[in-house]
């Protein structure tokens, strides 16, 4: 109990340090999520639309989940050297699987009759995807992004071992900041992860097709 009290005292004593590290943490997580979204979201949606590439969508996930981020960071050191991009790359690899897999299955499992009607009425492939499949699959797509952001925010902590910034720098450096500092920074990471999850849950609720709330 005393540790937690000390942690809060640490927060009160070092607001600038924590804010700065939180900012770095968000920058790193945000960059990784952004890149992962740009890469995985269109790919997953398009493959799902074509009902092709199940192997890719599922395979990437399994490989991605099996690779520990720490190992990737170690590999990455040889490519990117120490710093921001090495860590970002590792986190991108972590974020892609849930985004890609959920996007793929969200579209792939859309009601076939609804899609058949849309095509039969003369929608182009893109119109079918954007006007029918994506709105219907949106909750599932957002769920994938939510999982990815929690993963990334939590894992961004280990960036510190490869010269990255963020709250991890405090967590892995008990010698300098003491146990209270470590716990305080850990709490910050938790709050960030919960906040991201909460925001995406809210987005998902507002974006849910209104037919669900009406029935």
């Amino acid at each position: 109990m005393k540790t937690f009290v000390d942690a809060f005292r640490f927060m009160a004593d070092n607001p600038h340090l924590l804010l700065e590290k939180t900012g770095e943490h968000l920058e790193l997580s945000g960059a990784a999520l952004g890149i992962a979204l740009v890469l995985a979201l269109p790919l997953g949606l398009w493959l799902g639309h074509l009902h092709r590439g199940l192997f890719l969508a599922a395979g990437v996930s399994n490989v991605g989940r099996a690779l520990p981020s720490l190992v990737l960071i170690a590999f990455g050191l040889t490519i990117f050297g120490v710093g921001f991009w090495n860590n970002t790359a590792a986190l991108v690899v972590l974020a892609i699987p849930p985004i890609l897999t959920n996007a793929y299955f969200a579209i792939d499992t859309c009601d076939r009759d609804v899609v058949d009607a849309a095509r039969g009425m003369g929608m182009t492939g893109m119109q079918v995807l954007l006007r029918v499949e994506l709105p219907l699959g949106l909750p599932f797509v957002l769920a994938g992004i939510r999982v990815a952001s929690i993963f990334v925010i939590a894992t961004a902590t280990i960036a510190a071992v490869a010269g990255g910034g963020g709250l991890g720098q405090i967590i892995v450096n008990q010698a300098s900041y003491g146990l209270s500092g470590v716990v305080a920074a850990s709490l910050c990471v938790s709050v960030l992860a919960f906040a991201a999850a909460g925001i995406l849950t809210l987005v998902r609720r507002t974006a849910s097709p209104s037919h669900e709330s009406l029935t």
Partner: protein, 313 residues
């Protein structure tokens, strides 16, 4: 947007799937005159739906051709072709995330029609298919199966297509509502006069709905193409005879209504309307154990009578 009705020609239309023995649709040739309902009828899995989907190219022809008002479907832009053909399927396929109005407005929106135009048009169409205009703002999940299929029909009519493709549209609906929808569809067709290709495996529905029936046997081959009356009176072969059933003489009675018969002077007996089919009148007679029926006009006034002998003549 298109309009009126188009003539549809199947010209040796064939679909083969690689690696599968036999064709799904085999050299199908028939002409559907503009404004008529052609029912493709036959056993399940016989290639009826495939033949239908060859028209709007949801399935591509292997060989042969299909022409709408003389233009090959292959010569037309895929998206333009489909926008000009109304498409109704058994599971309706309404967009669950859109209001009824937005569903009906799908094709006009693809044509770039303004919102106000779509609003007016969908109100018109709701009325045409017998739904209250207040349905416009509801969602598909709030409607019954029968109501959804009415919306499906309205949605297919919204672009005023000269040709409608209907794939077992009433197949998933309970018998009572189905009968009502069939009656209303025929009433609607008298108003809009589209060329319709209608798929069903229900021979009674086919006889009721179709101006012409195309009986399709397994393997997608045409067994007989003619009016319901001609098919019932003279089935082309054993397959057709077996498919339409041993009671085909009885079925033929449902092609005529009392209005077509010469009525006797008004008499006492169970009453029936002029629009009743001879088959139903006979059933009523048997049920009531009567020998004569009193025939009424639309207002319910007795205007004549018909005897058992006259019905069977």
């Amino acid at each position: 947007m298109p309009g009126q009705a188009a003539e549809l020609v199947f010209d040796e239309a064939t679909k083969r799937y690689p690696g599968r023995e036999g064709a799904a649709v085999d050299h199908l040739s028939l002409t559907v005159p503009a404004g008529e309902i052609c029912v493709l009828v036959g056993p399940s899995g016989g290639g009826k739906t495939t033949a239908l989907r060859l028209v709007n190219r949801l399935i591509e022809l292997t060989s042969g051709d299909i022409r709408i008002d003389g233009t090959s479907v292959k010569a037309q832009n895929l998206v333009q072709l489909r926008r000009g053909i109304g498409y109704v399927i058994q599971q309706v396929g309404l967009f669950p995330h859109m209001t009824i109005e937005a569903n009906i407005g799908t094709v006009p929106r693809l044509y770039g029609r303004p919102r106000s135009w779509i609003k007016t048009r969908s109100a018109e169409l709701l009325e045409l298919v017998g739904l209250d205009p207040s349905y416009a703002k509801r969602y598909p999940a709030q409607l019954s199966g029968g109501e959804r299929q009415r919306v499906g029909l309205a949605r297919a009519l919204a672009g005023n297509p000269p040709l409608m493709l209907m794939d077992e549209p009433f197949g998933a609906i309970d018998p009572i509502v189905r009968t009502r929808l069939q009656d209303e569809f025929l009433r609607l067709q008298r108003e809009v006069r589209k060329t319709v290709v209608f798929v069903t495996h229900d021979i009674d529905e086919a006889i009721k709905i179709g101006d012409r029936l195309a009986v399709i046997r397994t393997g997608g081959r045409l067994a007989q193409y003619d009016t319901p009356r001609a098919i019932l009176e003279k089935p082309a072969d054993d397959f057709v005879a077996e498919f339409i059933g041993p009671d085909r003489a009885l079925k033929a009675l449902s092609l005529h209504t009392l209005a077509e018969l010469e009525l006797g002077p008004p008499a006492d007996g169970p009453t029936c309307g002029l629009e009743m089919t001879v088959r139903d009148a006979l059933a009523l007679l048997l049920e009531k154990k009567a020998t004569v029926l009193a025939v009424t006009d639309e207002k319910g006034a007795v205007i004549g009578s018909i005897t058992r002998e006259e019905l069977l003549a």
